[in-house]
């Protein structure tokens, strides 16, 4: 689960990680009021979306996507009026950054924050290194930039420190990072409690990513988190009921929300062939088959271990809401799930929805596969059945040609 910058900063505050004063706003008037309340000569108005690159992002008119309203999603302003004007320009419109893709994201919320006199910007994050199965701190004196680019072009400018799960993060490691970033002894002294607080925040919250980009040193010699990006481990949300209200449904694909309510694992994609599969690995493999058959997958959809009439129907309804879908491939490998039951589920769901005007290819393999094929073929529905995966691929190709 991802959260917004302002929510991350609230958590930072609880852990004693220094952040600037800021106020969340949802209307232009509130932006003005917030700037007045903060009282600084310079404030920063920041779009809140779940994607990076907001500063360099571009804001487009939601009613006319060709019309660019602003060449930035974050703006330093010098008066409350200017704060209101920028908020009016951005709120309700679409911010496109290099992480959002072309479709961009609608800005519903902004964060008005105190300005600060920056001495230098740095990059800092904590995440899991899958290769070593350890958490790793990644830091760089090349802050505020695209860290992937720095890693690629100047790997020597990236500092990494792995955390042994049995000892936790030790002070010597923090000072190692601090000196590697070029901090003075005075700054390193500040950096130790700063880093400890971030690490505690990461561990306590079961985060999968905690990123501060940029981390800054200020003209008056302080270390400050100027941004926050926190992702939580979805598997651990059960022990953080307090984080559940932080979920912002505006940031999620409506079909994905609907799918999760039916316990389906759905990811919307841009292609023309929908698919419904049991198991995540086979689902990805099925998407690949679609591509190799000349189509493009319209979605990832894992119905899980309990494929039955109800889940199949929910899956159908979700896939059919996507107007780009020209054919659907259902690929079920029946292990514990019996194929004949799934086949009955498909027939029932088909009848209950009615009027499905696109070709459906059903490939059922495994337990009771032959009975299943018989059920499909004798149902009188416009459904083609396949047994081998290669045959299913052929049928998808034929359906697209037709």
């Amino acid at each position: 689960m991802k959260i917004h910058e302002y929510q991350g900063k609230e958590i930072f505050r609880k852990y004693g990680v220094p952040v600037l004063k800021g106020i969340v706003i949802k209307t232009p008037e509130e932006a003005k009021q917030a700037a007045i309340e903060l009282g600084s000569p310079v404030v920063v108005v920041k779009s809140q979306i779940h994607a990076g690159g907001r500063g360099q992002g571009k804001v487009y008119d939601i009613k006319d996507r060709t019309k660019m309203l602003s060449d930035r999603g974050v703006k330093v302003v010098k008066s409350p009026q200017e704060a209101e004007d920028f908020a009016r320009l951005v709120l309700g419109n679409v911010l496109v950054t290099k992480q959002t893709g072309e479709e961009g994201k609608v800005v519903h919320t902004m964060y008005v924050e105190d300005g600060c006199a920056i001495e230098k910007e740095y990059y800092l994050s904590i995440t899991l290194d899958r290769v070593t199965s350890k958490n790793v701190i990644i830091a760089s004196a090349e802050g505020g930039m695209d860290i992937e680019k720095v890693a690629e072009e100047h790997p020597e400018k990236i500092v990494k420190e792995w955390i042994d799960p049995l000892t936790g993060l030790r002070p010597y490691q923090i000072s190692k990072i601090g000196y590697a970033l070029g901090f003075t002894p005075e700054l390193v002294k500040q950096f130790i409690p700063f880093m400890n607080a971030l690490y505690k925040c990461y561990m306590d919250g079961d985060c999968s990513l905690l990123e501060v980009n940029p981390l800054v040193t200020t003209k008056d010699g302080k270390i400050m988190a100027l941004d926050s990006k926190i992702n939580f481990d979805d598997n651990a949300l059960f022990r953080h009921p307090d984080y559940a209200p932080l979920r912002d449904l505006n940031e999620e694909e409506p079909l994905e929300i609907e799918a999760s309510e039916s316990n389906l694992n759905y990811v919307k994609l841009d292609g023309n062939v929908g698919c419904m599969v049991n198991g995540a690995g086979l689902a990805m493999a099925t998407m690949d088959i679609i591509k190799l058959s000349g189509g493009e997958p319209a979605n990832f959809l894992d119905v899980g271990g309990g494929a039955n009439a109800k889940t199949v129907e929910a899956g159908f309804r979700i896939i059919l809401k996507d107007p780009n879908v020209k054919a659907i491939l259902i690929n079920i490998f029946g292990g514990i799930v019996r194929c004949d039951r799934v086949a009955n589920g498909v027939v029932e769901a088909y009848k209950s929805i009615g009027n499905i005007n696109i070709p459906i290819i059903v490939r059922l393999q495994g337990t009771n596969a032959e009975e299943a094929a018989k059920i499909i073929n004798e149902s009188g529905l416009k459904v083609r059945s396949a047994v081998a995966l290669a045959d299913a691929a052929k049928l998808v190709n034929e359906a697209l040609q037709a």
């Binding site: 992937e148 799960p165 995540a280 990805m284 493999a285 998407m287 490998f333």
Partner: protein
């Protein structure tokens, strides 16, 4: 021969009396697996599926001599169950549980290593040595005793590969699903090392996914160490970057973890890479023929 489990393995089930544990233990017993008992705290001293139930893994091991454990404990308690199994001296731990928080897994790996235990999973289908022992949730009937070792992260995609291998008239020595989480007990390389040493395994099928570097590490190890033919497939060629595709580990985070990059490196390492998952079995057969093994 086989790896990890065989007909002599003495298997206990942790979470024995729960619905998942009961269902799959029944299936395992029907397959012929030597299930010697199970553990459910608070139900020690009773019988379930005609086998003894123990309160702790330690007492189960002492009473039955169990050396393999399969875990069906809910996510919140699974880490503790794994540590308990390793501490009791179990050497092969199969964790089926899906949804264990990553933080819980961090301490498990060094703990297992210190005790010389191997873990498969979590979030995996388990291990099967066809005709001898099924320690997992896979459908037993699609398997056939034979000489192909199969290793994969996922469940149903493994079954697909198994089925294709069986259709080719080949069978399997041992199939291992290592699981789809970011931290798993055993990597592709760990299992390939075992399959490489197993005299009964003639060929290896390596199935991977987007995300992480487990397959790439395995490919490099194969290049230097494995003479047996290896067929490889990576699922997720069409997956968009940054999105979670079901498995928590299946996120493309940048670098060499895309399907294309993994497949390229696997090819460079001499692996027979298939682009379509429909031809895994057929390609294995062809690879065996090429190496004069058929």
């Amino acid at each position: 021969m086989s790896i990890l489990v065989n007909k002599h393995s003495k298997v206990i089930v942790q979470g024995f009396t729960g619905s998942e544990g009961t269902f799959h233990a029944t299936q395992m017993i029907e397959y012929g697996t030597n299930v010697v008992g199970g553990v459910t705290p608070g139900k020690g001293g009773t019988k379930h599926l005609d086998r003894p139930v123990f309160n702790t893994v330690d007492s189960a091991v002492k009473a039955t001599g169990a050396d393999v454990s399969i875990i069906f404990v809910p996510p919140a308690f699974a880490a503790d169950a794994i540590l308990e199994a390793a501490d009791a001296g179990i050497k092969v731990i199969v964790t089926i549980t899906e949804g264990i928080p990553t933080r819980d897994m961090l301490v498990i790996k060094p703990f297992l290593k210190a005790r010389g235990a191997i873990m498969i999973g979590p979030n995996c289908p388990g291990i099967i040595t066809p005709g001898e022992a099924k320690v997992g949730i896979m459908p037993g009937f699609i398997h056939k005793p034979g000489t192909i070792g199969i290793i994969s992260r996922s469940g149903t995609l493994t079954y697909e590969a198994v089925y294709q291998v069986t259709q080719q008239g080949l069978g399997q020595s041992t199939c291992v699903g290592i699981g789809g989480d970011p931290i798993v007990g055993s990597t592709h390389t760990d299992i390939i090392k075992l399959l490489n040493e197993d005299p009964n395994t003639e060929g290896i099928i390596l199935i991977g996914e987007i995300g992480g570097s487990s397959e790439v590490d395995a490919a490099r190890w194969i290049k230097d160490n494995v003479k047996k033919p290896v067929v490889g497939f990576i699922a997720g060629q069409t997956a968009p970057p940054g999105r979670r595709m079901g498995h928590a580990g299946a996120i493309i985070a940048g670098g060499d973890d895309t399907a294309a990059a993994k497949m390229r490196i696997m090819k460079e390492c001499g692996i027979h890479v298939v682009e379509s998952p429909a031809f895994i079995g057929q390609t294995m057969m062809e690879a065996l023929r090429k190496s004069g093994m058929r």
